[in-house]
Amino acid sequence: MTTPRVARRRAGDNPALLGLVGILAFAALLEVLPRAGVLPAEYLPPTSRIVSALLDEFGRGSFWQAVGGTITTWLLGLVIAVVAGIVLGIVIGSVPALRLATASTVEFLRPIPSVALLPLAVVLFSAPIRSILLLVVYASFWPVLIQVLHGVTDIDPVARETALSYRLDRWRRARYLVWPTTLPYVMTGIRLAASVALVLTITGELLIGGTKGIGERIAVAQSSITVPSMYALIVVSGLIGVLANVATRRAERLVLAWHPAVRREFPL
């Protein structure tokens, strides 16, 4: 166990610093290659032009409205999917007969690609936000459900028997036995669902349009061939994704601060 630490000290490098160097090198490469004519500059603008387009976007009110719109749709869809996934997962998971009866249906519905529903979503709802929400909820519901189903079966037999010996009633068992066991799985499910939901939100905005959002602005930038601002918006979508990942990881650590796995990982 001690060898890696020694190796790291000898190398004298800092992972955070190296990571920064990596990003800067990537940016520099994308600056140099189009300018040198290796890549076509009209389709792959140099980094500096993307950055200035990004700064232009930051100054526009409509840009921030789009960011707000994307985040609202994303959170709305995520909350619906998570609540539905937890409730159904706990109900189905705690009743063995229900679990067996639904297994084949879940296995059949889950692999259906969410964008296959896109044409349906478009014709079924006249309001674009509803079509997008249908896609988002459908795609992000499954990871939550599957994780909760796994979590409910993971209850420690000794803990279960202890709870029964103490004659905890149904509600108390759910509160003190099922929920703490399931919570880590729920958080994993939410983490997976959050990134899926964001992808589907932006995809829906891009393909369906009609709502204020980053995806819709990308579609507009594409059709008006303002290439640098298209790249700038794509960078923004990536940044929102990174923020979403960081936020869900933080939330996971916060909610599970009592959990042995988290406690072991971050000694205080």
Binding site: A7, P111, P113, I218
Partner: protein
Amino acid sequence: MSRALGRAGLLLGLPVILLVTWWFASAGSKSFYQPPLETIIKVFPATWTAARFRSDVLPSLGRLFLGYGLAVLLGIVLGVLIGAHRRLRALVEPLLEFLRAIPPPVLVPILILVAGLGDPTKVLVIVSGGIWPVLLNTVEGVRGVDQVLADTCRTYRICGWLRMRTFILRAASPQIVVGARQALSISIIMMVIGELLGATNGLGYTVVQFQRGFEIPEMWSGVFVLGLLGVLLSLAFTLVERRVLSWYHGVRAAERSGR
């Protein structure tokens, strides 16, 4: 015998109930957008003919397999490289974190700009979405190889391709398979998206043509086909996984019973 019947009942019960409910609930449907299930099933054979299969389904599948294969291959190669070199990993990790967070569909407009509307673009679209889960899982798998086994390999001077094949790839394979499974469902999604945004044939293109032409029962049947494709490929993957990882499941089962 009655046991098998019970199992079959559990397996098929709910799907049958759902379909029957749908059949009767939609039977008298006058809604233009929600045709009766009967109509959808009736138009199915006429819509998905052998000719349609050749002109739309096969090209889609070809692009899907090519793109998916490339994504898995590239993901494993890059993942092994990055996972095996600690400094390289530190160098590219934040960058990968950012690139992975970009929703793959937004790259489609760029790829169309750069590579045009042909087949290469559609394959690239699939690769751009499918590579991430394989790459990241391979990095994790290679990073997590057993230290004792690594030392054993060094002691026996097992190196080069033999070490790669019998140790690194083998040890990382459960993780790689997890990544490949995620990549498969993403690849199907990217295949459809690539065909929605500018194509002249393919499954996604056909379904959207039906939608734009207001041929609603045909559109529903197309959604069925896409759903079936997802389900069948996921089944096929499970079969392959069981073969490839039979040793791993065996080890896990032995560990569990040993405890």
